[in-house]
């Protein structure tokens, strides 16, 4: 029965390994969960789950798997809990026959019987073999002698585990939620390619290795050089600013700050556009035409190896993308495609999901069709950055 839980967790996308599972079994053998459901929950989480991002997933899986117990505990009337929490009488009533019969019951049968007793029972019973009570031989209650059964009340307070799990306090940490500056920064560290791994010349003296080599060489100097370990990633960031993006300003500021703080890039260029890119790019988020550069010159100065990150909601009036009154000139989409084709790695991060008050925006679909577009969350940012450093 218990191994099912292991496979259940795995089927829910939690990468629980066999090793961790065996550790949990060892912990249970050592009695670390005691007879408490809350501690069992805590133990499972501490041993099996290794990231706060998975806490929420684990909580909901745990609730779903142990729902039966959760429901049983909800049905237990408070006065019954009170009888059970009283100091138990300790009768010498162990009955082998009943023990044998009880051990043959399946968990489902016991649950059924408990539900039935809860309907029938009107008063306190201790030391018996039928009612819910303490120190008895029935399959429910606490401090009892039955080999199987459901603990009701007493030290276990098993509903607490469900309350704790049920609160889902860790929802904020799941990989799918929108992120803050720090999380952005952590994610951005993925964006690196060390020159040590590329074929840069070995120009840096490695003192430690030199000393080691010299010593091994019997004291005669022997120099060791290595490749400098610097990030070779260059980044061009193009941000949509103003208009429909105001709604996402908090999120975009966080991303912007994170990118600016990430000083591990070899070069970082940030330009702004309003809704769509045309012949000019702005150097300030206010989109002031006094401070603009031509898109052509940006493309001419930046090499193909810059990693391009578009940030924008891709929502605009159709004519802004396809032309219309500006039809004689190059349309917005053409500009976007020119940029896309100029660089080898381009991704589009979208703080929105495209569906607005008016339904999914036409331009959103069109741009998503042409670009690798990701909704801005932890998981997706990682995916997008992975895409940026992947070999083509």
């Amino acid at each position: 029965m218990f191994t099912d839980f292991f496979y259940y967790l795995r089927s829910q996308g939690l990468a629980v390994s066999l090793q961790e599972w065996l550790t949990l079994c060892e912990a249970l053998d050592k009695g670390l969960a005691g007879a408490s459901f809350t501690r069992f929950y805590g133990l499972c989480r501490a041993v099996l789950i290794k990231s706060e991002a998975d806490y929420d997933k684990f909580d909901s899986a745990f609730i779903r798997y142990f729902r039966a117990i959760a429901e049983a505990s909800e049905e237990i009337p408070p006065e019954l809990m009170e009888w059970l929490n009283k100091p138990a009488v300790t009768p010498g009533n162990y009955d082998e026959e009943i023990a044998r019969l009880n051990s043959l019951l399946t968990p489902e049968q016991i649950e059924e019987m408990l539900a039935q007793r809860l309907k029938e029972q009107k008063e306190e019973h201790n030391g018996g073999s039928y009612w819910v009570g303490t120190g008895g031989m029935s399959t429910f209650g606490n401090a009892g002698n039955s080999p199987t059964g459901i603990r009701v009340g007493g030290q276990s307070i098993h509903h607490r585990a469900f309350r704790v799990a049920g609160e889902r306090r860790f929802r904020d940490f799941t990989g799918d939620t929108v992120l803050d500056t720090r999380q952005f920064q952590v994610a951005l560290r993925r964006l690196r390619q060390y020159s040590a791994k590329t074929d840069a010349p070995k120009t840096e003296l490695n003192p430690d290795a030199t000393v080691d080599a010299t010593c091994e060489n019997g004291g005669t100097l022997k120099l060791v050089y290595e490749r400098p370990r610097i990030n070779t990633v260059k980044v061009l960031m193009l941000m949509d600013s103003g208009g429909s993006m105001d709604y996402y300003s908090g999120l975009c500021t966080a991303l912007f700050q994170a990118v600016r703080k990430s000083n591990h890039f070899k070069d970082l260029k940030i330009y702004y556009f309003h809704n769509c890119v045309y012949s000019h790019l702005y150097t300030e988020p206010t989109c002031n035409p006094a401070k603009w550069v031509t898109t052509e010159s940006v493309l001419n100065t930046l090499g193909r190896d810059y990693k391009v990150i578009f940030v924008g909601d891709a929502e605009m009036a159709p004519y802004e993308l396809w032309g219309g009154q500006y039809a004689k000139r190059k349309s917005g989409l053409d500009w976007l495609l020119t940029i896309r084709d100029h660089f080898s790695h381009v991704v589009w991060l979208n703080p929105g999901t495209g569906d607005s008050y008016w339904g999914v925006c036409q331009t959103y679909d069109a741009i998503r069709h042409e670009f690798d577009m990701y909704t801005l969350t932890v998981k997706n940012l990682e995916k997008a950055l992975k895409k940026l450093v992947s070999a083509r």
Binding site: S17, Q19, A27, A46, I49, S51, Y55, R169, T214, G250
Partner: protein, 275 residues
């Protein structure tokens, strides 16, 4: 393991979940990996465990340049080279030039020690993997001398991480994990009670209300943490500012917030609220 469990200590207040995670790790003899916001007392926990177990504490602070071997032992080749060139004594004795690191010291300890590997995520990505064998088997060999250092008593190992880098799966599988949540109000009151046992109730109420209000402000770049609250309360008690003014004025906000932008957004929010 009776009598060896950890139940918090006089100067450290921990949540029930954290205590049970510590005890799980101690019973299973596995490293306990702690994550959490800065200022939630990850490092303090190790001191507290060490003092409650009366065990020696070894702290290994990880930096970006730290290599796994540094914690085990350091072979001082340069000193040996010097000694050999200037005819120092005992150059043949390699043992003389091998110094144990914090992990090595904890293994060699005559009684059960507490080993804190602080901020493991600062180091290189491969760093945790390089320690797998040593933490699993609790032994390592120094090739220069052929000596094997084996743990006399399995130390209690605590590892802290600020989630700057992801840790490798193989490493995570061997750890017990706990995420320290930011303390809720009830726990925060207990923590402050430990630091200031005689604090006036009114001052405490005001300070805590103001603190959680500041923490809840949208768009803070760095939220104030427990240690900042403790400093702030000290400032408040010394200043003699009327207690009813604390929540309204939030004096000494610079103790709570360390960034200019944050202080500005605090001022804006103060102007906007009703009380």
């Amino acid at each position: 393991m009776k009598g060896k469990t950890f139940g918090g200590s006089q100067d450290y207040v921990a949540s029930e979940e954290l205590l049970s995670a510590v005890n799980i790790a101690m019973t299973l003899q596995k490293p306990l990996l702690l994550k959490g916001e800065p200022g939630t007392g990850k490092t303090m926990l190790a001191r507290s465990i060490a003092s409650s177990l009366h065990a020696p504490l070894y702290i290994w602070n990880i930096k970006s340049t730290t290599k796994a071997q540094d914690g085990l032992y350091v072979y001082d080749v340069v000193q040996r080279l010097y000694d050999s060139q200037f005819g120092g004594e005992g150059v043949d004795d390699i043992e003389k030039y091998v110094h144990l690191g914090q992990v090595g010291e904890a293994f060699e300890s005559e009684e059960r020690a507490v080993l804190l590997i602080d901020e493991i995520d600062k180091a290189d990505l491969e760093f945790p993997n390089d320690l797998l064998w040593e933490l699993d088997q609790m032994e390592f060999t120094i090739p220069q001398t052929g000596r094997t250092v084996k743990a006399k008593h399995r130390p209690v190992i605590l590892i802290t991480s600020n989630a700057e880098k992801e840790l490798p799966d193989a490493f995570l599988r061997r750890c017990i994990f706990h995420y320290i949540e930011f303390p809720d109000e009830a726990l925060m009151r207990r923590i402050i009670g430990v630091h200031y046992p005689d604090l006036e109730q009114n001052l405490l109420d005001q300070a805590i209300a103001a603190f959680y209000w500041v923490r809840g402000l949208p768009g803070l770049q760095k939220k104030p943490s427990t240690s900042e609250l403790i400093d702030w309360i000290r400032a408040l008690t010394f200043s003699g500012i009327p207690q009813e003014e604390i929540l309204r004025q939030i004096p000494f906000a610079g103790v709570l917030l360390k960034k200019n932008e944050d202080l500005e957004s605090l001022e804006k929010s103060k102007a906007r609220r009703r009380f």
